[in-house]
Structure formats: C-alpha cells, structure tokens
Symmetry: C2
Subunit: 209 residues, 2 copies
C-alpha cells in the first residue's frame, strides 16, 4: 500500500517503535514520511493534502482523520525534531554546562543527518514560502526547546541569545543540506561539533557586548 517505506536510518528514540504495528500507526507513519517529501519538494503553500495522501498511498480523508489538516501535519512532520523533546532536553541538560553548545550542535547534526537533510530542506522551503511556518518554528524552538534549558543560559539578553543560537543552527543546516557548500556539507560530525560548539556556547553564556 505504501509507496514510501517507513524504514530509513533510525534516529534517536525511534527504536521503541520497531516491529509489527497496527494498520493505523502504519498509515500515520506513511503520511508523515510522505509529508516530509512533499513539503521539501513543494514548500508549505504548494503541498496539497491530496498530493501527500497520494504519495503515502492512502485516502486523503486519512489526513484529516490522523492530523486534522495540513497545518498540524506540517507541524508534526517538519517542525518537530525527529525525536521526542523530553529525551533531547534531558540530554542537553546532562554533562558539563560549558559543553552545552557542543551537545546542541551534535544533537541537531545527528538528527538531521539521519534523514539525509530532507527534514531540514522541507523546513527551509516551507518557512521561505509561508509566514505561518516561521511562526510555528519560532514557537517550537524558542518555547518548547529553548525555554526548557533557559536556566543554563546567561541572564543578560536571554531572548537575544536564543535567537543567536538559532541563527548558527539554521545557518549550519542551510550550508550542509540546502546549498551544499563543501567541505562543510561532507564534513564529519565530530569535526563540526568542535568547530561550531564553542561558538554556540559563546551565544549561550559568553559576553556579547
């Protein structure tokens, strides 16, 4: 039934979903995978519910059934990190506070790399063509993620620091997955974490004026 298999490189947190699943969960997973592809190809505005359902090999009514509509499907498929927020926050909070920037760089690179950059590309195409996508991304990044590690961030200019971190993380994704500037696009994760981590750390806890 599904033209898009739900396999592919497993990301953090997906392991527990392995094995035989009921048909409903298969449909939901197929819609998420198809949505990421179609949003990456068409952007938010160009992607239709019908095209996503067709790619997943299911009836368009399933989108409303599982997600209520295109907006929620977009949030689930593209804006969410490819792992749950709770384990990510726990991971970021573990280890030395002075290495938080490095842990953030590694978490984003590892999760995006695991999907070949498709999710990041879908995100950029969508935010570039759809203002609401930018708002959803901001809510997700600043509130759901950054809001929960804010005690690890210097108190002065905390909001600006969060958006500066966003600038480095988004730019890293742009160069690696969208415009493919070498050698960064093919560089190993360890080397990139060593290069980028301290810069993120300065935005988190360094002196900025």
């Amino acid at each position: 039934m599904m033209s898009t298999p739900t396999a592919g490189p497993p990301g953090p947190g997906t392991g527990r979903r392995r094995g035989r699943r009921p048909g409903g969960a298969d449909t939901r997973a197929a819609l998420l995978a198809a949505a990421r592809e179609v949003f990456a190809e068409q952007g938010y505005s160009g992607a239709t519910v019908r095209a996503i359902a067709r790619r997943a090999g299911v009836d368009a009514a399933m989108v409303n059934h599982w997600f209520g509509g295109k907006e929620t499907l977009f949030a689930e498929a593209v804006l969410r990190l490819p792992f749950e927020v709770e384990p990510l926050v726990a991971h970021l909070r573990s280890g030395p506070a002075g290495q938080l920037g490095a842990r953030m760089a590694r978490a984003f690179l590892t999760s995006w790399d695991a999907e070949g950059g498709t999710r990041f590309t879908a995100l950029v195409r969508s935010v570039a063509t759809h203002a609401d996508a930018g708002s959803s991304l901001r809510d997700f990044f600043l509130e759901n993620l950054f809001g929960r590690i804010s005690d690890l961030v210097a108190e002065d200019g905390r909001e600006l620091r969060a958006t500066l971190v966003a600038s480095q993380v988004m730019g890293l994704g742009m160069v690696r997955y969208v415009v493919h500037f070498e050698p960064l696009a093919s560089a190993g994760v360890d080397g990139l974490v060593a290069a980028v981590g301290p810069n993120i750390q300065r935005y988190l806890t360094g002196r900025l004026d």
Copy 2:
C-alpha cells in the same frame, strides 16, 4: 512606464549612479528591481521572464537584450551584493585583522537591511527551490568574495573556515529576514555586530579543533 521605482534606500556604492540616466539604464535598473521582487515571491523556478518584464513595465525581449536570459538576470539581481565587490573587499581589508569578523557582519547586515531583507529572502527562496542557485551562490561567496581575503584567514582548514563563516552569515539572514525571530529581527546593527563579529572571527582565525 515602471511599476517598480528604482529609488528606495541607497546602499553603499549606489550614490554615484544618482541623477539623470539614459533610458536603457533605467530599463536595466527596473528589471533588476522587478526581478528581486519576483524571485523573492516565486523562487527561481516559479519566476518567469515574462512576469519579471511585466512587473518592470517593459517588453520581455528586454530581459534577453540586457541580461541574455533568466540565469544571468538572477545572478545580477539576487546573488550579487548590493554594492560592488571591489569596495567591499577593500573595506574588509582595511582596519585591524582581528576585527575582520565584525566588519563582515556589519557589511552584510547594512546592505541587506538597506533593502528591507528583500534580496536575502529572494536568495533563500531561490536556493531552496533551485540547485543551480546554490552553486552560483557558492561560486560568488567562496571565490569572488572569500578568495580575495584568504590571506587574512588562518591557513589550516581555510576552505572549511570559509563555509563556517557562510553558515553564520546565512543563518543571521534567515533569522532576521525570513523567519523573523525576535529580538534578533529588530535588533540594532551595532549590538548584532558585537554579538556575531567575534564568532565569525573565530571561524576566520581561531582554533577550531
């Protein structure tokens, strides 16, 4: 004749073009301004020569006459910085080498701000939807610009350093002009240069491993 006036905030280097110009230069300028708008709205693939000419209020044949086609018009209208490369390179090379990162941050922010972010948004929409646009951008940034200040960059991993700088500069534009994360989107240039400049400087001359 022109639906898009060529006025707007003057950027560095545009002053000498003020005053009465022959009709041909007006047509060319009108096409450049119209192209930036249409590429920003539609991306590279969606923007047609006909739509750009219509926006400029001129015949579509003028695009071929002045630019030879859509590809060159795109390069001239979107990829080029809103000032000549020579003065930019001269500016970057002036002043203390340890402040090169700050001068780069200020140069990009000032020129993009002067056009309200339109050119940067056009760039992102285009590279997100058109692989060739990414290649053109890489050639421009890495060869025309970075290649001419490479003696100011640390010798180890010079290519990686250039792409790391690109990641910070592109991410800054993404957050300020495309997804509009506050407070970065409205922050003053001086504060941003102080925050971002040292991070770019570390990519240029700092220790990365």
